[in-house]
């Protein structure tokens, strides 16, 4: 069946491409110049972009389905404009066997929703000691290796992991926080934590670990070069100015590293802790306003090239514990795009193409996937969003099981209206005729 999306304002990571009539056929963009179709949809001048790719989500399957499952997580992604998401392996049990990867991919295929990409653990049980079988995991369809949620304490294990992952064609993602410096910190360490009497996780805990991991990468690149392999490091949820600067310097030098930044680290500061609310508890913690400035600047200059939500749903009851016992993480798949469109593009003048690039081709490049472009022949993984329609964030309407949000009550524009995966409608807003 052919679908014609008429009167759409095209935008991808290369910029705004003008208004066009997009013909979708057999899961691909058949034409940007219109054509005959069985179904016609009038975009009414709204933006059409490649569907977003989220390199970092927690779908809690297997084992923690009360927090989220594949059906709710992938539906939340589709609703947020995402065509694909990478699920982290810190589940129960940890995803580290080829059979587990296959089972997750099989289950996801039965859902008419966003595509699932699976990250497998880098080390057994994410304990940082013995490596998982990278080649077998890659063959089973794993898209990435990571011990996210835990930090890789042993630099030697990380180095060998980068080399083996490279041989299998996979990048390694790292949760970069020095465990000793981080200690039990609930919020960003600094004057405000001292004033509020909350334990602090210092920005240096991140920078110290990123600095080390970049040296480990340098070593792995040298070791793998003789074999013709190219290790790639993906630094997850960079939250500090110093961490971003270290990555920028490494990239300028030519090291194959990608830095990711989350919607919450781009739009919230540690000041929210004045309300003593565990919704804001996240690792790494929300930082100072100067860090937020630095992260946005780094996106604009291309030094950080991927936005990942780190969508980390928990039950409301868990978030209603005291601040030390409440778990880290916040849900954001359904609000990430409008949030960033409103706060960064509308309010701060970040070019729309930069935002789109960091939410599509930036993460895809880190995963070794082709860029997402609006071009004839490209997969019809598309997202339509409305820059004018204003709506308030209402967690009660989430399809994610985590019905709370640090942005509840915020007025946002840029809400997704339609998400297509391989030309198939996986989500459509009722407001779209």
């Amino acid at each position: 069946m052919r679908l014609l999306i008429r009167n759409a304002r095209l935008v991808d990571g290369t910029g705004e491409l003008g208004t066009a009539d997009v013909l979708v056929e057999e899961g691909r963009i058949a034409s940007l110049a219109g054509g005959d179709a069985e179904r016609v949809l009038d975009a009414g001048g709204r933006f059409l972009a490649p569907a977003l790719t989220d390199p970092h989500v927690h779908l809690r399957t297997p084992g923690q389905e009360t927090k989220e499952d594949l059906a709710t997580g992938l539906a939340a992604a589709a609703r947020g404009g995402y065509g694909a998401v990478v699920a982290m392996p810190n589940t129960d049990p940890v995803v580290q066997e080829p059979e587990q990867v296959r089972a997750l991919l099989d289950e996801a295929r039965t859902l008419s929703s966003a595509r699932l990409l699976v990250a497998a653990a880098l080390t057994e049980n994410q304990e940082g000691r013995r490596l998982t079988p990278a080649a077998l995991l890659a063959r089973a369809g794993a898209a990435l290796l990571t011990d996210d949620g835990r930090t890789n304490e042993d630099a030697g294990v990380l180095a060998r992991g980068l080399v083996y992952a490279a041989a299998a064609g996979l990048a390694v993602a790292v949760h970069a926080e020095d465990a000793g410096l981080r200690a039990g910190g609930v919020m960003n360490d600094g004057p405000l934590a001292a004033e509020l009497g909350l334990s602090g996780n210092p920005p240096e805990a991140e920078a110290a670990r990123i600095a080390r991991d970049l040296e480990v990468l340098r070593y792995a690149v040298r070791k793998a070069a003789a074999l013709g392999h190219a290790p790639r490091l993906y630094v997850q949820h960079v939250s500090t100015a110093r961490g971003a600067a270290l990555i920028a310097a490494a990239r300028a030098e030519g090291l194959p590293v990608t830095g990711e930044v989350t919607p919450h680290h781009l739009t919230l500061t540690e000041e929210v802790w004045r309300g003593f609310d565990a919704r804001f508890k996240v690792a790494p913690p929300l930082r100072a306003a100067s860090d937020v400035e630095a992260l946005i600047g780094a996106l604009e200059r291309g030094e950080l090239s991927a936005i990942g939500t780190d969508h980390a749903p928990h039950t409301a009851a868990e978030k209603e514990r005291d601040l030390e016992n409440a778990p880290f993480g916040m849900p954001s798949l359904e609000v990430a795009f409008p949030l960033l469109y409103t706060e960064l593009v509308e309010k701060r003048g970040l070019p729309l193409a930069v935002l789109i690039e960091c939410m599509t081709s930036g993460p895809r490049a880190a995963l070794g996937l082709a860029p997402a472009r609006l071009a004839e022949g490209a997969p019809a993984d598309l997202m339509l969003f409305d820059p004018a329609a204003q709506r308030t964030v209402d967690p009660a309407r989430f399809v994610s099981k985590a019905r709370y949000s640090p942005w509840a009550g915020r007025e946002l524009v840029g809400w997704p209206r339609l998400t297509l995966v391989a030309g198939r409608e996986v989500w459509r807003d009722a407001a779209l005729a």
């Binding site: 001292a194 004033e195 909350l198 309300g275 003593f276 609310d277 209603e320 601040l323 030390e324």
Partner: protein, 305 residues
């Protein structure tokens, strides 16, 4: 100045509010001096003491304060571990709320718990100490005790000594005492000083803090700080920061000596000082009862005050 709805900390407080509360405490102490130590002021109200962290002294002090004013009192003691293991803190509070209570006195091991409780409960919340964050009734009773000796806190120098970083007592005193005109110094080893303590001057030099001090407040040293690595050596602490007769000579003659208790004799404080004429430790306990009566009174009926 608005009526007091909760007592969580002193954020947003004005001097007159603090003075009015301390004045009520004076009246309450008169009740404690009567042969029949009971008034009907809170008849018909029910006060709950909700302690997620054990503290017999504070609990008894609040419960007596409520009973002296004829309130009904119920006590709840929850182990901190049951909160960690699943039962939501909020559910625990809502269960209590279903019993139609008027005020909740909450003692908690983690900073922010009193604030969370105030967000979820309909009745008045009194923070009886939350983690390292705040302990406002302790600061009020300290101020009350200091006023016995000093008459006014205007321009007085108060030295707080010890583990300032982890002390809710220090944090609340640093908020309240400057509000009443005092100048607060906080002294301790570098690893036990916070990066910032609004209201206080921070120093690692104990002598500097004690110099001409009008009053000295000694904090309890938690031995677990050694395990955490915040303090390298108890021997060094005692040598450098123990408040001794000799060191106290730098302060004003007769400067009162306060301690929130319980005390580690011969660790943070030279043992003989604890029983000496400067010690106000017992006076603080009595003041605590009067101050807590005043707080409950202001929260439940004294809104015009």
């Amino acid at each position: 100045m608005g009526a007091l709805t909760h007592l969580l900390d002193f954020a947003g407080w004005e001097r007159a509010q603090a003075e009015s509360l301390l004045e009520t405490a004076r009246m309450m102490e008169e009740v404690l001096e009567r042969p029949m130590k009971k008034v009907p002021a809170l008849k018909g109200f029910t006060v709950a003491t909700v302690f997620f962290e054990p503290s017999t002294r504070t609990k008894i002090s609040f419960e007596l304060a409520a009973r002296r004013m004829s309130a009904d009192v119920v006590g709840f003691t929850g182990a901190g571990s049951s909160l960690a293991k699943g039962e939501s803190f909020k559910d625990t509070l809502l269960t209590l709320q279903a019993m139609a209570l008027d005020a909740y006195v909450i003692r908690a091991p983690v900073a922010g718990m009193a604030h969370q409780a105030a967000r979820w409960l309909e009745g008045a919340v009194v923070n009886a100490g939350d983690g390292r964050r705040a302990h406002p009734t302790q600061a009020l009773l300290d101020a009350y005790t200091l006023l016995d000796d000093l008459e006014t806190l205007e321009g007085r120098k108060v030295a707080i000594v010890g583990d300032v970083a982890h002390s809710r007592v220090a944090r609340s005193n640093a908020e309240l005492l400057p509000l009443l005109g005092a100048e607060v110094w906080a002294a301790g080893p570098a690893g036990l000083l916070p990066e910032r303590l609004p209201g206080a001057r921070l120093t690692t030099d104990l002598d500097e803090a004690l110099e001409d001090a009008d009053a000295v407040m000694v904090l309890r040293l938690q031995r677990e700080r050694m395990d955490e690595g915040a303090l390298p050596s108890l021997r060094e602490y005692v040598a450098e920061y123990q408040v001794t007769e000799a060191r106290l000579a730098r302060a004003k003659p007769d400067a009162p000596l306060l301690h929130p208790g319980p005390m580690n004799r011969d660790v943070e404080l030279e043992g003989t000082l604890a029983d000496g004429p400067r010690s106000r430790v017992e006076r603080q306990v009595r003041a605590g009862e009067a101050v807590r009566m005043a707080v409950l009174y202001h929260l439940l009926v004294g809104r015009a005050a």
